[in-house]
């Protein structure tokens, strides 16, 4: 990470800065979404962009997710670099045909002649007491589709650098932001830098167990690692940062070194991201593993509203700590 001179931004500010810098750099970058202009989204992530870039580039849309996503696909094919804003990740369901059957396939179906350089930014993450239709983490759906790239930043630094790479990418990229992290602070350099898609990052070096984690689960893994340290277990935390392209090598190397791995992701555990990552590790590090790879994701239920119920549906520092301790035979 370059020197930041103590400069800190929140996760939301880092996103906004990436967008502002890219919009200054490239006049074809524009934002489309509900309440993105004056309101700057309900999470206030885009505040101030309208003032700088005007209504032609920060475009309020009707509540028509399928329509404006489709429009973005067409605009991307013909010279723009749209960034669409889907307020809650739950609403990606409404955009699925545009993303899966159109955006993802245009390049391949046209024999490489058309391309779709667009970004879809959306949110994920439970425990906000928003119930079953505003709390899901559905990123696995897009990971399943060839032609799409999927990015899940876990720190303000990564968020800025990855979003810039996503905007400059020639393909449709879906960018998931955990809404519970918007206020998270961290070092972010002023000015231009990118974090490449497809390169994992070791967030904490350790010897005894690897915790592979995505998005806000990285923070959970780091918390668990601190608890583990107190009982003498040294945990390594690896963040793939992008689920496709996937840096398999870093995951496998870490698991080979520690001989144990837990994979954490806030999507549903069944048929989810953890299954894919665990299989990559189980295959690649097979001869070095001392225990089966463990997966921890969201419980197989719609996210309940009631706080005591919602809280048990996702991994926490404590549950990860317990699982790691068991896996290490303590």
């Amino acid at each position: 990470m370059p020197e930041t001179g103590g400069r800190e931004l929140t996760f939301a500010q880092a996103i906004r800065e990436a967008l502002a810098e890219e919009m200054r750099r490239d006049p074809t970058v524009c934002i489309l979404g509900e309440d993105v202009a004056e309101a700057g989204t309900p999470f206030k992530v885009l505040s101030g962009l309208l003032e700088e870039f005007g209504k032609d580039r920060v475009v309020d849309t009707p509540i028509s997710e399928a329509g404006f996503t489709g429009l973005a696909v067409g605009a991307a094919m013909t010279g723009m670099r749209p960034v669409v804003d889907i307020m809650f990740g739950d609403f990606i369901t409404l955009t699925m045909d545009q993303m899966v059957n159109q955006a993802a396939k245009v390049h391949y179906m046209s024999g490489g002649k058309w391309k779709v350089p667009m970004v879809m930014r959306t949110t994920m993450g439970a425990t906000r007491r928003s119930a079953a239709q505003h709390s899901q983490s559905l990123h696995a759906w897009f990971c399943h589709v060839p032609g799409l790239k999927v990015v899940l930043p876990s720190t303000p630094y990564d968020a800025k650098g990855l979003l810039k790479s996503a905007i400059r990418d020639e393909n449709p990229v879906v960018f998931f932001e955990d809404k519970m992290m918007y206020k998270l602070k961290g070092p972010v350099p002023a000015g231009d830098y990118t974090v490449p898609l497809g390169v994992a990052d070791v967030k904490r070096v350790g010897e005894d167990i690897t915790l592979v984690a995505t998005s806000s689960m990285v923070q959970v893994a780091l918390g668990a690692a601190t608890l583990l340290e107190e009982i003498g277990i040294s945990a390594e935390v690896v963040d793939p940062r992008t689920l496709w392209p996937l840096d398999e090598k870093t995951l496998i190397e870490s698991a080979k070194k520690t001989s144990r791995a837990i994979v954490l992701d806030e999507g549903y555990e069944r048929y989810g991201v953890t299954a894919e990552l665990a299989s990559v590790i189980a295959t690649g590090a097979f001869y070095d593993l001392d225990a089966p790879v463990k997966r921890m994701g969201a419980m197989h239920v719609p996210i309940p509203f009631s706080p005591p119920l919602e809280d048990v549906t996702v991994p926490t520092e404590q549950t990860v700590f317990e699982a790691a301790r068991t896996l290490c035979g303590r």
């Binding site: 309101a39 509540i63 906000r128 007491r129 928003s130 119920l309």
Partner: protein, 330 residues
């Protein structure tokens, strides 16, 4: 005979009016308590208050039978109450308690109650258009004479599915009424910035019986609803009712500073000149159908009734953690 029937009819009318007054006050007092619960940090998450729009839910639902169906929205407390929900179970749901309508699993945006024909509130804008139309389909096939009402905000006009189901409803002559509550704003954007052309003509284009009404005038809403419900029940097909109304509070309880999207002056004008409860109360007094003191008593009674319901909900227990995995499948 006519002389004998007239007074009875008139007194039935008066009963209806007094009941509608009471229902509107009940909704307002309910919502006032919801705001209170939020302010006192007793309610998890957020809620979208219906204050200002009471005449729509009450006018429409008073034209329905208990067995008729409704679907509701994120701003749904008023619809549920007007259809006969009990405040104590509603508050319990809003607090995520076991005694709530959905055992705490749904929360503010998902109140559902088969006993009152409430197919459920929905947190996806336009999410229930299909469900309401499907209920009308089954009512027709099963021949049970029921009618289905789909409540939605004008923001839902942006969703393509609305036009698909209106087309189906007209083709199949289904007993469904699409009630569009135009409160002028989606979240933070004036509807004129997101809605092209003429709203009613969208429905008339499909051949639906379409009407617009002053949504602050409960008698007018009720009269037109009665006509549309009767023709739907007769088998004359679907209808579209556009109600002009206004929400007094923010988009949700946390939306306090609103001046960037609407003026205090505008809010004040609606509250003082077009308040559905005050104006109806005034009319009842002028017509000598009620005296002002009695109306004040109604307000006080309902306020204390709502407070009792809140006390019940606050004291009620949360669901047991094991319940999180129940109800996923039928």
């Amino acid at each position: 005979m006519t002389t004998a029937a007239q007074p009875r009819e008139a007194s039935e009318k008066v009963d209806l009016w007094l009941r509608m007054y009471r229902q509107m006050v009940a909704i307002r007092q309910f919502e006032a308590q919801v705001n209170e619960l939020y302010t006192r940090a007793l309610m998890p998450g957020l809620a979208h208050l219906y204050i200002g729009e009471e005449a729509v839910a009450v006018g429409v639902c008073e034209a329905l039978e208990r067995t008729d169906y409704i679907t509701s929205t994120h701003r749904g407390h008023g619809h549920c109450l007007a259809k006969g929900a009990s405040p104590d179970q509603m508050f319990a749901e809003l607090l995520g308690k076991k005694a709530g309508y959905c055992k705490g699993k749904g929360g503010s945006m998902h109140i559902a109650d088969p006993a009152t024909g409430n197919l459920g509130a929905n947190a996806i804008v336009c999410g229930s258009a299909g469900i309401a139309t499907g209920a009308a389909f089954s009512a027709r096939r099963l021949g049970n004479g029921r009618v289905s009402v789909c409540f939605f905000g004008e923001g839902a006009l942006g969703q393509g599915v609305l036009y698909e189901v209106m087309n189906l409803a007209q083709l199949f002559k289904l007993p469904v009424i699409y009630v569009c509550e135009n409160n002028l704003y989606t979240e933070y954007t004036h509807y004129s910035e997101t809605t092209a052309g003429d709203i009613l003509m969208r429905a008339t284009a499909f051949g639906l019986e379409s009407a617009s009404v002053d949504g602050q005038d409960v008698r007018a809403v009720h009269a037109i609803s009665q006509r549309l419900v009767e023709r739907a029940r007769r088998g004359d097909g679907p209808a579209f009712l556009l109600c002009d109304t206004y929400r007094y509070h923010g988009h949700h309880v946390g939306d306090i500073n609103r001046e960037y999207y609407r003026s205090k002056q505008e809010e004040q004008t609606w509250k003082t000149e077009r308040d559905p409860i005050a104006n109806f109360g005034k009319w009842l007094v002028e017509q000598k159908l009620a005296d002002a003191a009695a109306l004040d008593r109604t307000q006080a009674e309902l306020e204390s009734e709502m407070k009792k319901a809140v006390d019940f909900a606050v004291a009620a227990p949360y669901p047991a953690v094991e319940e999180v995995e129940q109800d996923v499948y039928a």
